[in-house]
Symmetry: C2
Subunit: 304 residues, 2 copies
Protein backbone atom coordinates (compact mmCIF):
# COMPACT_ATOMS: atom_id res chain seq x y z
CA UNK A 1 0.00 0.00 0.00
CA UNK A 2 1.42 3.35 -1.06
CA UNK A 3 0.31 6.94 -0.55
CA UNK A 4 0.20 7.86 -4.22
CA UNK A 5 2.17 5.69 -6.58
CA UNK A 6 1.80 5.04 -10.30
CA UNK A 7 2.54 1.47 -11.43
CA UNK A 8 3.26 0.87 -15.09
CA UNK A 9 1.69 -2.45 -16.20
CA UNK A 10 1.96 -1.85 -19.94
CA UNK A 11 3.46 0.93 -22.03
CA UNK A 12 3.42 -0.47 -25.56
CA UNK A 13 1.02 0.50 -28.32
CA UNK A 14 -1.49 -1.13 -30.65
CA UNK A 15 -0.28 -4.71 -30.33
CA UNK A 16 1.58 -6.41 -27.51
CA UNK A 17 5.15 -7.38 -28.28
CA UNK A 18 7.79 -9.41 -26.58
CA UNK A 19 9.11 -6.00 -25.41
CA UNK A 20 6.01 -4.21 -24.15
CA UNK A 21 2.48 -4.98 -22.96
CA UNK A 22 -0.47 -2.83 -24.12
CA UNK A 23 -1.63 0.17 -22.10
CA UNK A 24 -2.34 -0.26 -18.41
CA UNK A 25 -1.42 1.62 -15.27
CA UNK A 26 -2.51 1.22 -11.67
CA UNK A 27 -2.46 4.06 -9.18
CA UNK A 28 -1.87 2.75 -5.70
CA UNK A 29 -3.63 5.43 -3.63
CA UNK A 30 -3.74 4.77 0.10
CA UNK A 31 -6.17 1.86 0.60
CA UNK A 32 -7.33 1.58 -3.02
CA UNK A 33 -6.13 0.82 -6.52
CA UNK A 34 -7.28 2.88 -9.52
CA UNK A 35 -6.60 1.26 -12.89
CA UNK A 36 -6.19 3.41 -15.99
CA UNK A 37 -6.78 1.58 -19.28
CA UNK A 38 -6.78 -2.19 -19.41
CA UNK A 39 -4.96 -3.76 -22.35
CA UNK A 40 -4.86 -7.52 -22.83
CA UNK A 41 -2.75 -9.11 -20.13
CA UNK A 42 -3.51 -6.51 -17.45
CA UNK A 43 -4.68 -9.19 -14.99
CA UNK A 44 -1.43 -11.09 -15.33
CA UNK A 45 0.60 -7.92 -14.92
CA UNK A 46 -1.32 -7.20 -11.68
CA UNK A 47 -0.30 -10.63 -10.39
CA UNK A 48 3.32 -10.16 -11.45
CA UNK A 49 3.47 -6.73 -9.79
CA UNK A 50 1.70 -7.97 -6.66
CA UNK A 51 -1.18 -5.50 -6.92
CA UNK A 52 -4.01 -7.15 -5.04
CA UNK A 53 -7.29 -7.69 -6.91
CA UNK A 54 -9.21 -7.08 -3.67
CA UNK A 55 -8.02 -3.45 -3.53
CA UNK A 56 -9.11 -2.55 -7.07
CA UNK A 57 -11.98 -0.05 -6.81
CA UNK A 58 -12.08 2.01 -10.03
CA UNK A 59 -11.12 1.44 -13.66
CA UNK A 60 -10.84 4.40 -16.04
CA UNK A 61 -10.90 3.67 -19.80
CA UNK A 62 -9.56 6.46 -22.00
CA UNK A 63 -10.98 5.24 -25.32
CA UNK A 64 -12.36 2.22 -27.11
CA UNK A 65 -9.35 0.78 -28.86
CA UNK A 66 -8.54 -2.84 -28.13
CA UNK A 67 -5.09 -2.17 -26.69
CA UNK A 68 -6.73 -0.05 -23.96
CA UNK A 69 -9.80 -2.18 -23.28
CA UNK A 70 -9.49 -5.87 -24.14
CA UNK A 71 -7.93 -6.88 -20.83
CA UNK A 72 -11.20 -6.03 -19.09
CA UNK A 73 -13.28 -9.18 -19.81
CA UNK A 74 -10.54 -11.48 -18.55
CA UNK A 75 -9.76 -9.28 -15.57
CA UNK A 76 -13.41 -9.13 -14.50
CA UNK A 77 -13.80 -12.91 -14.93
CA UNK A 78 -10.75 -13.46 -12.76
CA UNK A 79 -11.96 -11.01 -10.11
CA UNK A 80 -15.19 -13.04 -9.94
CA UNK A 81 -13.26 -16.31 -9.58
CA UNK A 82 -11.18 -14.69 -6.82
CA UNK A 83 -14.47 -13.81 -5.14
CA UNK A 84 -13.65 -10.14 -4.91
CA UNK A 85 -16.40 -8.32 -3.02
CA UNK A 86 -17.68 -4.76 -2.89
CA UNK A 87 -18.18 -2.46 -5.82
CA UNK A 88 -16.01 -1.88 -8.86
CA UNK A 89 -16.72 1.30 -10.79
CA UNK A 90 -15.84 1.30 -14.48
CA UNK A 91 -15.62 4.75 -16.03
CA UNK A 92 -16.06 4.43 -19.79
CA UNK A 93 -17.90 5.83 -22.78
CA UNK A 94 -21.43 4.52 -23.27
CA UNK A 95 -20.40 2.18 -26.10
CA UNK A 96 -17.76 0.65 -23.81
CA UNK A 97 -20.34 -0.09 -21.13
CA UNK A 98 -22.67 -1.58 -23.73
CA UNK A 99 -20.14 -4.01 -25.22
CA UNK A 100 -18.78 -4.94 -21.80
CA UNK A 101 -22.29 -5.83 -20.61
CA UNK A 102 -22.70 -8.04 -23.69
CA UNK A 103 -19.38 -9.78 -23.14
CA UNK A 104 -20.09 -10.31 -19.44
CA UNK A 105 -23.49 -11.82 -20.28
CA UNK A 106 -21.65 -14.60 -22.15
CA UNK A 107 -18.45 -15.08 -20.17
CA UNK A 108 -19.14 -13.95 -16.64
CA UNK A 109 -22.81 -14.23 -15.87
CA UNK A 110 -22.35 -13.90 -12.13
CA UNK A 111 -19.86 -11.75 -10.28
CA UNK A 112 -19.13 -11.70 -6.58
CA UNK A 113 -18.92 -7.90 -6.74
CA UNK A 114 -21.16 -5.15 -8.05
CA UNK A 115 -20.12 -3.43 -11.28
CA UNK A 116 -21.07 0.22 -11.42
CA UNK A 117 -20.75 1.81 -14.85
CA UNK A 118 -20.06 5.54 -14.85
CA UNK A 119 -20.57 6.87 -18.36
CA UNK A 120 -18.03 9.53 -19.26
CA UNK A 121 -17.48 11.73 -22.30
CA UNK A 122 -14.26 13.18 -23.75
CA UNK A 123 -14.82 16.61 -22.22
CA UNK A 124 -13.79 18.59 -19.12
CA UNK A 125 -15.65 17.13 -16.13
CA UNK A 126 -15.19 15.85 -12.60
CA UNK A 127 -16.06 12.17 -12.88
CA UNK A 128 -15.18 11.01 -9.37
CA UNK A 129 -14.59 12.74 -6.08
CA UNK A 130 -14.32 11.71 -2.47
CA UNK A 131 -12.70 13.04 0.71
CA UNK A 132 -9.19 12.41 -0.60
CA UNK A 133 -9.05 12.73 -4.36
CA UNK A 134 -10.68 14.28 -7.42
CA UNK A 135 -10.59 12.63 -10.85
CA UNK A 136 -11.29 14.75 -13.91
CA UNK A 137 -11.54 14.00 -17.61
CA UNK A 138 -10.27 16.32 -20.32
CA UNK A 139 -10.36 15.93 -24.11
CA UNK A 140 -7.59 14.24 -26.06
CA UNK A 141 -7.32 14.31 -29.83
CA UNK A 142 -7.16 10.82 -31.31
CA UNK A 143 -8.78 8.94 -34.21
CA UNK A 144 -11.73 8.07 -31.95
CA UNK A 145 -13.20 9.94 -28.96
CA UNK A 146 -10.58 9.87 -26.23
CA UNK A 147 -10.33 11.26 -22.69
CA UNK A 148 -7.34 12.11 -20.53
CA UNK A 149 -7.54 11.71 -16.77
CA UNK A 150 -6.24 14.00 -14.02
CA UNK A 151 -5.95 12.73 -10.45
CA UNK A 152 -5.68 15.52 -7.87
CA UNK A 153 -5.17 14.76 -4.24
CA UNK A 154 -7.22 17.04 -2.02
CA UNK A 155 -5.51 19.46 0.38
CA UNK A 156 -4.48 17.74 3.57
CA UNK A 157 -4.97 18.98 7.14
CA UNK A 158 -2.19 20.98 8.80
CA UNK A 159 -0.13 19.35 11.51
CA UNK A 160 -1.02 20.30 15.11
CA UNK A 161 1.81 21.60 17.30
CA UNK A 162 1.42 19.50 20.44
CA UNK A 163 3.32 22.00 22.59
CA UNK A 164 1.00 24.89 21.67
CA UNK A 165 -2.17 22.82 21.97
CA UNK A 166 -1.12 21.93 25.52
CA UNK A 167 0.01 25.50 26.33
CA UNK A 168 -3.42 26.94 25.46
CA UNK A 169 -5.17 23.90 26.89
CA UNK A 170 -7.31 23.64 23.72
CA UNK A 171 -10.26 21.22 23.98
CA UNK A 172 -10.18 18.15 21.71
CA UNK A 173 -13.45 19.23 20.11
CA UNK A 174 -11.68 22.21 18.47
CA UNK A 175 -8.73 20.29 17.01
CA UNK A 176 -10.34 19.18 13.74
CA UNK A 177 -11.18 22.77 12.78
CA UNK A 178 -7.69 23.93 13.71
CA UNK A 179 -6.17 21.21 11.50
CA UNK A 180 -8.20 22.72 8.67
CA UNK A 181 -6.94 26.26 9.30
CA UNK A 182 -9.20 27.75 11.98
CA UNK A 183 -7.77 30.15 14.54
CA UNK A 184 -8.43 29.49 18.26
CA UNK A 185 -10.23 31.92 20.48
CA UNK A 186 -9.37 31.52 24.14
CA UNK A 187 -12.08 31.73 26.84
CA UNK A 188 -11.02 35.35 27.50
CA UNK A 189 -11.51 36.24 23.80
CA UNK A 190 -7.88 36.32 22.63
CA UNK A 191 -7.42 35.14 19.03
CA UNK A 192 -4.53 32.71 18.55
CA UNK A 193 -3.63 32.65 14.84
CA UNK A 194 -3.66 29.20 13.25
CA UNK A 195 -0.04 29.39 12.16
CA UNK A 196 1.02 29.55 15.83
CA UNK A 197 -0.87 26.29 16.50
CA UNK A 198 0.02 24.27 13.41
CA UNK A 199 2.76 23.56 10.90
CA UNK A 200 1.99 23.38 7.16
CA UNK A 201 0.16 20.41 5.70
CA UNK A 202 2.00 17.82 3.69
CA UNK A 203 1.87 18.66 0.04
CA UNK A 204 -0.86 17.18 -2.17
CA UNK A 205 0.11 15.56 -5.42
CA UNK A 206 -1.42 15.41 -8.87
CA UNK A 207 -1.03 13.12 -11.87
CA UNK A 208 -2.27 13.43 -15.44
CA UNK A 209 -2.58 10.66 -18.01
CA UNK A 210 -2.67 11.36 -21.74
CA UNK A 211 -3.12 8.01 -23.44
CA UNK A 212 -3.44 8.52 -27.19
CA UNK A 213 -3.40 11.97 -28.73
CA UNK A 214 -1.94 14.09 -31.47
CA UNK A 215 0.19 16.99 -30.28
CA UNK A 216 -2.24 19.69 -29.22
CA UNK A 217 -1.22 22.69 -27.08
CA UNK A 218 -4.72 22.66 -25.54
CA UNK A 219 -3.63 19.58 -23.59
CA UNK A 220 -1.06 21.70 -21.73
CA UNK A 221 -3.88 23.84 -20.30
CA UNK A 222 -5.61 20.76 -18.96
CA UNK A 223 -2.55 19.28 -17.26
CA UNK A 224 -1.03 22.55 -16.05
CA UNK A 225 1.23 22.20 -13.03
CA UNK A 226 0.70 18.52 -12.28
CA UNK A 227 3.50 16.81 -10.43
CA UNK A 228 3.78 14.00 -12.95
CA UNK A 229 2.48 13.92 -16.51
CA UNK A 230 2.27 10.69 -18.51
CA UNK A 231 2.06 11.65 -22.16
CA UNK A 232 2.11 9.19 -25.02
CA UNK A 233 5.14 9.26 -27.29
CA UNK A 234 4.38 6.64 -29.90
CA UNK A 235 7.16 7.84 -32.22
CA UNK A 236 10.52 9.54 -32.13
CA UNK A 237 11.56 12.23 -34.63
CA UNK A 238 12.42 9.67 -37.30
CA UNK A 239 8.75 8.77 -37.74
CA UNK A 240 7.40 12.24 -36.89
CA UNK A 241 5.54 12.41 -40.20
CA UNK A 242 3.47 9.36 -39.19
CA UNK A 243 2.43 10.68 -35.80
CA UNK A 244 -0.36 13.15 -36.52
CA UNK A 245 -2.06 11.17 -39.31
CA UNK A 246 -2.29 8.23 -36.91
CA UNK A 247 -3.52 10.36 -34.02
CA UNK A 248 -0.28 10.11 -32.07
CA UNK A 249 2.56 12.28 -30.73
CA UNK A 250 6.33 12.15 -30.80
CA UNK A 251 8.47 12.16 -27.68
CA UNK A 252 9.59 15.69 -28.58
CA UNK A 253 5.97 16.84 -28.72
CA UNK A 254 5.32 15.23 -25.34
CA UNK A 255 8.30 17.24 -24.05
CA UNK A 256 6.77 20.45 -25.46
CA UNK A 257 3.46 19.78 -23.70
CA UNK A 258 5.34 19.14 -20.43
CA UNK A 259 7.30 22.39 -20.80
CA UNK A 260 4.25 24.46 -21.74
CA UNK A 261 2.27 22.99 -18.83
CA UNK A 262 5.06 23.48 -16.29
CA UNK A 263 4.73 19.99 -14.88
CA UNK A 264 7.16 18.48 -12.40
CA UNK A 265 8.16 15.37 -14.33
CA UNK A 266 7.28 13.79 -17.66
CA UNK A 267 6.80 10.05 -18.19
CA UNK A 268 6.94 8.76 -21.75
CA UNK A 269 5.20 5.63 -23.06
CA UNK A 270 2.91 4.00 -25.65
CA UNK A 271 5.96 3.23 -27.74
CA UNK A 272 5.53 1.96 -31.28
CA UNK A 273 6.81 -1.59 -31.69
CA UNK A 274 9.07 -0.26 -34.46
CA UNK A 275 11.55 0.68 -31.70
CA UNK A 276 13.77 -1.68 -29.76
CA UNK A 277 15.15 1.03 -27.45
CA UNK A 278 13.65 3.94 -25.53
CA UNK A 279 16.85 5.97 -25.90
CA UNK A 280 15.68 8.18 -28.83
CA UNK A 281 12.44 9.00 -27.00
CA UNK A 282 14.34 10.08 -23.88
CA UNK A 283 16.96 12.06 -25.77
CA UNK A 284 14.53 13.99 -27.93
CA UNK A 285 11.98 14.71 -25.18
CA UNK A 286 14.72 15.93 -22.86
CA UNK A 287 15.74 18.54 -25.44
CA UNK A 288 12.33 20.09 -24.77
CA UNK A 289 11.90 19.37 -21.07
CA UNK A 290 14.56 18.38 -18.55
CA UNK A 291 12.92 15.96 -16.10
CA UNK A 292 11.80 13.04 -18.24
CA UNK A 293 11.74 9.28 -17.73
CA UNK A 294 10.76 6.42 -20.02
CA UNK A 295 8.04 4.12 -18.69
CA UNK A 296 8.72 0.41 -18.63
CA UNK A 297 6.66 -2.50 -17.32
CA UNK A 298 7.09 -2.93 -13.58
CA UNK A 299 8.13 0.68 -12.95
CA UNK A 300 6.76 2.39 -9.84
CA UNK A 301 6.63 6.19 -9.71
CA UNK A 302 6.06 7.70 -6.26
CA UNK A 303 4.29 11.04 -6.33
CA UNK A 304 4.79 11.64 -2.62
CA UNK B 1 7.07 -25.27 -40.79
CA UNK B 2 6.47 -28.76 -39.46
CA UNK B 3 4.68 -31.79 -40.83
CA UNK B 4 2.36 -32.25 -37.86
CA UNK B 5 3.43 -30.64 -34.62
CA UNK B 6 1.41 -29.56 -31.59
CA UNK B 7 2.62 -26.35 -29.92
CA UNK B 8 1.48 -25.67 -26.37
CA UNK B 9 0.81 -21.93 -25.93
CA UNK B 10 -1.14 -22.19 -22.68
CA UNK B 11 -1.98 -25.10 -20.38
CA UNK B 12 -3.37 -23.44 -17.27
CA UNK B 13 -7.02 -23.25 -16.27
CA UNK B 14 -9.64 -20.64 -15.43
CA UNK B 15 -7.30 -17.74 -14.72
CA UNK B 16 -3.82 -17.05 -15.99
CA UNK B 17 -1.09 -17.28 -13.39
CA UNK B 18 2.56 -16.45 -13.25
CA UNK B 19 3.05 -20.18 -13.90
CA UNK B 20 0.66 -20.95 -16.77
CA UNK B 21 -1.23 -19.15 -19.52
CA UNK B 22 -4.88 -20.03 -20.28
CA UNK B 23 -5.75 -22.66 -22.89
CA UNK B 24 -4.27 -22.39 -26.35
CA UNK B 25 -2.54 -24.78 -28.72
CA UNK B 26 -1.39 -24.39 -32.31
CA UNK B 27 -1.02 -27.32 -34.67
CA UNK B 28 1.70 -26.62 -37.19
CA UNK B 29 0.49 -28.76 -40.11
CA UNK B 30 2.55 -28.47 -43.28
CA UNK B 31 1.90 -24.96 -44.67
CA UNK B 32 -0.79 -23.94 -42.19
CA UNK B 33 -1.42 -23.29 -38.51
CA UNK B 34 -4.57 -24.53 -36.78
CA UNK B 35 -5.24 -22.91 -33.39
CA UNK B 36 -7.26 -24.76 -30.75
CA UNK B 37 -8.82 -22.50 -28.11
CA UNK B 38 -7.59 -18.97 -27.62
CA UNK B 39 -7.15 -17.83 -24.04
CA UNK B 40 -6.05 -14.31 -23.20
CA UNK B 41 -2.45 -13.77 -24.25
CA UNK B 42 -2.53 -16.23 -27.17
CA UNK B 43 -1.27 -13.58 -29.61
CA UNK B 44 1.74 -12.86 -27.44
CA UNK B 45 2.48 -16.56 -27.05
CA UNK B 46 2.41 -16.91 -30.85
CA UNK B 47 5.06 -14.18 -31.08
CA UNK B 48 7.17 -15.73 -28.35
CA UNK B 49 6.99 -19.14 -30.02
CA UNK B 50 7.65 -17.71 -33.49
CA UNK B 51 4.41 -19.02 -34.98
CA UNK B 52 3.73 -16.69 -37.89
CA UNK B 53 0.38 -14.90 -37.96
CA UNK B 54 0.32 -15.14 -41.77
CA UNK B 55 0.10 -18.96 -41.61
CA UNK B 56 -2.91 -19.09 -39.26
CA UNK B 57 -5.86 -20.45 -41.21
CA UNK B 58 -8.31 -22.04 -38.74
CA UNK B 59 -9.26 -21.47 -35.11
CA UNK B 60 -11.27 -24.10 -33.23
CA UNK B 61 -13.02 -23.01 -30.01
CA UNK B 62 -14.05 -25.85 -27.72
CA UNK B 63 -16.48 -23.91 -25.52
CA UNK B 64 -17.46 -20.42 -24.43
CA UNK B 65 -15.52 -19.94 -21.22
CA UNK B 66 -13.29 -16.89 -21.06
CA UNK B 67 -10.06 -18.84 -20.56
CA UNK B 68 -10.66 -20.55 -23.92
CA UNK B 69 -11.98 -17.56 -25.90
CA UNK B 70 -10.92 -14.13 -24.65
CA UNK B 71 -7.63 -14.05 -26.54
CA UNK B 72 -9.58 -13.92 -29.81
CA UNK B 73 -10.51 -10.20 -29.97
CA UNK B 74 -6.93 -9.08 -29.39
CA UNK B 75 -5.52 -11.71 -31.72
CA UNK B 76 -7.89 -10.71 -34.54
CA UNK B 77 -7.11 -7.00 -34.02
CA UNK B 78 -3.41 -7.74 -34.21
CA UNK B 79 -3.83 -9.90 -37.33
CA UNK B 80 -5.57 -6.93 -38.96
CA UNK B 81 -2.76 -4.55 -37.95
CA UNK B 82 -0.26 -7.04 -39.37
CA UNK B 83 -2.26 -6.92 -42.60
CA UNK B 84 -2.74 -10.65 -42.71
CA UNK B 85 -4.57 -11.60 -45.92
CA UNK B 86 -6.70 -14.52 -47.04
CA UNK B 87 -9.41 -16.21 -45.04
CA UNK B 88 -9.47 -17.18 -41.39
CA UNK B 89 -12.10 -19.73 -40.43
CA UNK B 90 -13.33 -19.66 -36.83
CA UNK B 91 -15.14 -22.82 -35.74
CA UNK B 92 -17.30 -21.99 -32.75
CA UNK B 93 -20.78 -22.37 -31.32
CA UNK B 94 -23.36 -19.88 -32.60
CA UNK B 95 -23.23 -17.78 -29.44
CA UNK B 96 -19.46 -17.46 -29.87
CA UNK B 97 -19.83 -16.15 -33.39
CA UNK B 98 -22.49 -13.72 -32.24
CA UNK B 99 -20.44 -12.17 -29.43
CA UNK B 100 -17.30 -12.09 -31.54
CA UNK B 101 -19.12 -10.18 -34.28
CA UNK B 102 -20.32 -7.68 -31.66
CA UNK B 103 -16.82 -7.24 -30.24
CA UNK B 104 -15.28 -6.86 -33.69
CA UNK B 105 -17.86 -4.21 -34.59
CA UNK B 106 -16.46 -2.06 -31.78
CA UNK B 107 -12.75 -2.89 -31.75
CA UNK B 108 -11.84 -4.05 -35.23
CA UNK B 109 -14.24 -2.61 -37.77
CA UNK B 110 -12.04 -3.46 -40.74
CA UNK B 111 -9.85 -6.49 -41.21
CA UNK B 112 -7.39 -7.18 -44.00
CA UNK B 113 -8.60 -10.79 -44.12
CA UNK B 114 -11.96 -12.45 -44.43
CA UNK B 115 -13.41 -14.11 -41.33
CA UNK B 116 -15.48 -17.18 -42.06
CA UNK B 117 -17.55 -18.44 -39.13
CA UNK B 118 -18.28 -22.16 -39.14
CA UNK B 119 -20.95 -22.88 -36.55
CA UNK B 120 -20.32 -26.13 -34.73
CA UNK B 121 -22.21 -28.09 -32.07
CA UNK B 122 -20.95 -30.37 -29.32
CA UNK B 123 -21.75 -33.56 -31.24
CA UNK B 124 -20.02 -36.06 -33.54
CA UNK B 125 -19.41 -34.37 -36.89
CA UNK B 126 -16.78 -33.69 -39.52
CA UNK B 127 -16.36 -29.93 -39.38
CA UNK B 128 -13.46 -29.48 -41.80
CA UNK B 129 -11.87 -31.63 -44.46
CA UNK B 130 -9.44 -31.11 -47.28
CA UNK B 131 -6.95 -33.24 -49.24
CA UNK B 132 -4.67 -33.69 -46.25
CA UNK B 133 -6.64 -33.66 -43.01
CA UNK B 134 -10.03 -34.25 -41.42
CA UNK B 135 -11.17 -32.40 -38.32
CA UNK B 136 -14.03 -33.83 -36.28
CA UNK B 137 -15.89 -32.69 -33.20
CA UNK B 138 -17.09 -35.00 -30.47
CA UNK B 139 -19.01 -34.24 -27.27
CA UNK B 140 -17.27 -33.41 -24.00
CA UNK B 141 -19.04 -33.20 -20.65
CA UNK B 142 -18.48 -29.83 -18.98
CA UNK B 143 -20.63 -27.24 -17.19
CA UNK B 144 -21.48 -25.64 -20.54
CA UNK B 145 -21.71 -27.19 -24.04
CA UNK B 146 -18.21 -28.29 -24.99
CA UNK B 147 -16.66 -30.02 -27.99
CA UNK B 148 -13.48 -32.04 -28.35
CA UNK B 149 -11.54 -31.99 -31.61
CA UNK B 150 -9.88 -34.84 -33.49
CA UNK B 151 -7.37 -34.12 -36.25
CA UNK B 152 -6.76 -37.08 -38.55
CA UNK B 153 -4.21 -36.90 -41.30
CA UNK B 154 -5.45 -38.58 -44.46
CA UNK B 155 -3.69 -41.67 -45.83
CA UNK B 156 -0.63 -40.72 -47.82
CA UNK B 157 0.42 -42.12 -51.23
CA UNK B 158 2.80 -45.11 -51.32
CA UNK B 159 6.37 -44.55 -52.43
CA UNK B 160 7.24 -45.54 -55.99
CA UNK B 161 10.16 -47.93 -56.49
CA UNK B 162 12.19 -46.18 -59.19
CA UNK B 163 13.97 -49.37 -60.22
CA UNK B 164 10.72 -51.21 -60.90
CA UNK B 165 9.07 -48.23 -62.64
CA UNK B 166 12.03 -48.14 -65.02
CA UNK B 167 12.14 -51.94 -65.39
CA UNK B 168 8.51 -52.06 -66.58
CA UNK B 169 8.89 -48.76 -68.47
CA UNK B 170 5.66 -47.48 -66.88
CA UNK B 171 4.27 -44.26 -68.42
CA UNK B 172 4.20 -41.17 -66.18
CA UNK B 173 0.43 -40.93 -66.64
CA UNK B 174 -0.03 -44.14 -64.59
CA UNK B 175 2.16 -43.17 -61.64
CA UNK B 176 -0.42 -41.24 -59.61
CA UNK B 177 -2.80 -44.23 -59.59
CA UNK B 178 0.04 -46.57 -58.64
CA UNK B 179 0.99 -44.27 -55.73
CA UNK B 180 -2.58 -44.72 -54.54
CA UNK B 181 -2.43 -48.54 -54.75
CA UNK B 182 -3.33 -49.47 -58.32
CA UNK B 183 -1.67 -52.46 -59.94
CA UNK B 184 -0.03 -52.01 -63.32
CA UNK B 185 -1.11 -53.95 -66.39
CA UNK B 186 1.63 -54.27 -69.00
CA UNK B 187 0.84 -53.86 -72.72
CA UNK B 188 0.83 -57.67 -73.02
CA UNK B 189 -1.79 -57.96 -70.26
CA UNK B 190 0.41 -59.09 -67.36
CA UNK B 191 -0.75 -57.74 -63.97
CA UNK B 192 2.10 -56.37 -61.83
CA UNK B 193 0.91 -56.20 -58.22
CA UNK B 194 1.20 -52.79 -56.61
CA UNK B 195 3.42 -54.03 -53.80
CA UNK B 196 6.11 -54.95 -56.35
CA UNK B 197 6.06 -51.33 -57.62
CA UNK B 198 5.84 -49.39 -54.37
CA UNK B 199 6.93 -49.37 -50.77
CA UNK B 200 4.43 -48.57 -48.01
CA UNK B 201 3.22 -45.01 -47.46
CA UNK B 202 4.50 -42.97 -44.55
CA UNK B 203 2.18 -43.35 -41.64
CA UNK B 204 -0.59 -40.82 -41.06
CA UNK B 205 -0.98 -39.29 -37.64
CA UNK B 206 -3.91 -38.29 -35.49
CA UNK B 207 -4.38 -35.98 -32.52
CA UNK B 208 -7.31 -35.50 -30.17
CA UNK B 209 -7.94 -32.56 -27.88
CA UNK B 210 -10.19 -32.80 -24.83
CA UNK B 211 -10.29 -29.35 -23.29
CA UNK B 212 -12.66 -29.34 -20.32
CA UNK B 213 -14.60 -32.43 -19.34
CA UNK B 214 -15.60 -34.63 -16.47
CA UNK B 215 -14.31 -38.19 -16.64
CA UNK B 216 -16.58 -39.99 -19.06
CA UNK B 217 -15.69 -43.35 -20.63
CA UNK B 218 -17.62 -42.30 -23.75
CA UNK B 219 -14.70 -39.98 -24.55
CA UNK B 220 -12.45 -43.01 -25.01
CA UNK B 221 -14.65 -44.21 -27.89
CA UNK B 222 -14.24 -40.88 -29.64
CA UNK B 223 -10.46 -40.70 -29.34
CA UNK B 224 -9.77 -44.41 -29.88
CA UNK B 225 -6.31 -45.14 -31.23
CA UNK B 226 -5.08 -41.58 -31.79
CA UNK B 227 -1.34 -41.11 -31.75
CA UNK B 228 -1.47 -38.34 -29.19
CA UNK B 229 -4.30 -37.47 -26.83
CA UNK B 230 -4.41 -34.20 -24.94
CA UNK B 231 -6.80 -34.65 -22.04
CA UNK B 232 -7.41 -32.09 -19.36
CA UNK B 233 -6.21 -32.93 -15.86
CA UNK B 234 -7.29 -29.98 -13.78
CA UNK B 235 -6.74 -31.80 -10.51
CA UNK B 236 -4.62 -34.54 -8.99
CA UNK B 237 -6.02 -37.15 -6.59
CA UNK B 238 -5.85 -34.79 -3.63
CA UNK B 239 -8.66 -32.65 -5.06
CA UNK B 240 -10.46 -35.51 -6.84
CA UNK B 241 -13.69 -34.72 -5.01
CA UNK B 242 -13.77 -31.29 -6.62
CA UNK B 243 -13.25 -32.50 -10.18
CA UNK B 244 -16.66 -33.79 -11.27
CA UNK B 245 -18.77 -31.09 -9.59
CA UNK B 246 -16.71 -28.49 -11.45
CA UNK B 247 -16.89 -30.34 -14.75
CA UNK B 248 -13.25 -31.41 -14.70
CA UNK B 249 -11.07 -34.53 -14.57
CA UNK B 250 -8.12 -35.68 -12.55
CA UNK B 251 -4.83 -36.74 -14.09
CA UNK B 252 -5.61 -40.33 -13.09
CA UNK B 253 -8.92 -40.15 -14.96
CA UNK B 254 -7.11 -38.77 -18.02
CA UNK B 255 -4.80 -41.79 -17.75
CA UNK B 256 -7.80 -44.13 -17.65
CA UNK B 257 -9.26 -42.57 -20.81
CA UNK B 258 -5.88 -42.93 -22.55
CA UNK B 259 -5.63 -46.59 -21.52
CA UNK B 260 -9.22 -47.39 -22.52
CA UNK B 261 -8.76 -45.65 -25.88
CA UNK B 262 -5.42 -47.31 -26.61
CA UNK B 263 -3.77 -44.06 -27.64
CA UNK B 264 -0.06 -43.72 -28.32
CA UNK B 265 0.78 -40.96 -25.88
CA UNK B 266 -1.10 -38.86 -23.34
CA UNK B 267 -0.47 -35.14 -22.79
CA UNK B 268 -1.78 -33.63 -19.57
CA UNK B 269 -2.76 -29.98 -19.07
CA UNK B 270 -5.35 -27.44 -17.89
CA UNK B 271 -3.77 -27.53 -14.46
CA UNK B 272 -5.52 -25.86 -11.54
CA UNK B 273 -3.53 -22.94 -10.20
CA UNK B 274 -3.62 -24.65 -6.81
CA UNK B 275 -0.57 -26.67 -7.94
CA UNK B 276 2.97 -25.40 -8.20
CA UNK B 277 4.32 -28.61 -9.72
CA UNK B 278 3.17 -31.03 -12.41
CA UNK B 279 4.78 -33.97 -10.62
CA UNK B 280 1.60 -35.34 -8.97
CA UNK B 281 -0.26 -35.20 -12.29
CA UNK B 282 2.47 -37.16 -14.05
CA UNK B 283 2.85 -39.71 -11.28
CA UNK B 284 -0.83 -40.47 -10.90
CA UNK B 285 -1.63 -40.56 -14.63
CA UNK B 286 1.31 -42.87 -15.30
CA UNK B 287 -0.13 -45.38 -12.82
CA UNK B 288 -2.99 -45.77 -15.33
CA UNK B 289 -1.14 -45.30 -18.61
CA UNK B 290 2.60 -45.54 -19.28
CA UNK B 291 3.41 -42.94 -21.94
CA UNK B 292 2.41 -39.63 -20.42
CA UNK B 293 3.91 -36.15 -20.53
CA UNK B 294 2.92 -32.91 -18.83
CA UNK B 295 2.26 -29.96 -21.14
CA UNK B 296 4.09 -26.73 -20.48
CA UNK B 297 4.15 -23.45 -22.39
CA UNK B 298 6.57 -23.57 -25.31
CA UNK B 299 6.47 -27.36 -25.64
CA UNK B 300 6.45 -28.80 -29.16
CA UNK B 301 5.12 -32.33 -29.70
CA UNK B 302 5.95 -33.89 -33.07
CA UNK B 303 3.39 -36.42 -34.26
CA UNK B 304 5.50 -37.49 -37.20
Amino acid sequence: MANFQVNILGCGSATPSVRHMPACQVIDFRDRLFMIDCGEGAQLQMMRQRLKFSRLSHIFISHLHGDHFLGLPGLLSTLALHEKGGTLTIHTFDEGARILRQIMAVFCRETSFEINYNIITPSRAVIFEDHAITVETFPLYHRVPCAGFKFTEKPKPRHLRGDMIRFYNIPVSRLEDIRHGADYITPDGTVIANDRLTTPADRSASYAYCSDTVYNPAVADDVRGVDVLYHESTYADDFAAKAAPRGHSTAREAGRIAAAAGVGRLVLGHYSKAYDSEEPFLREASEEFPDVIAAREGMKIDLL
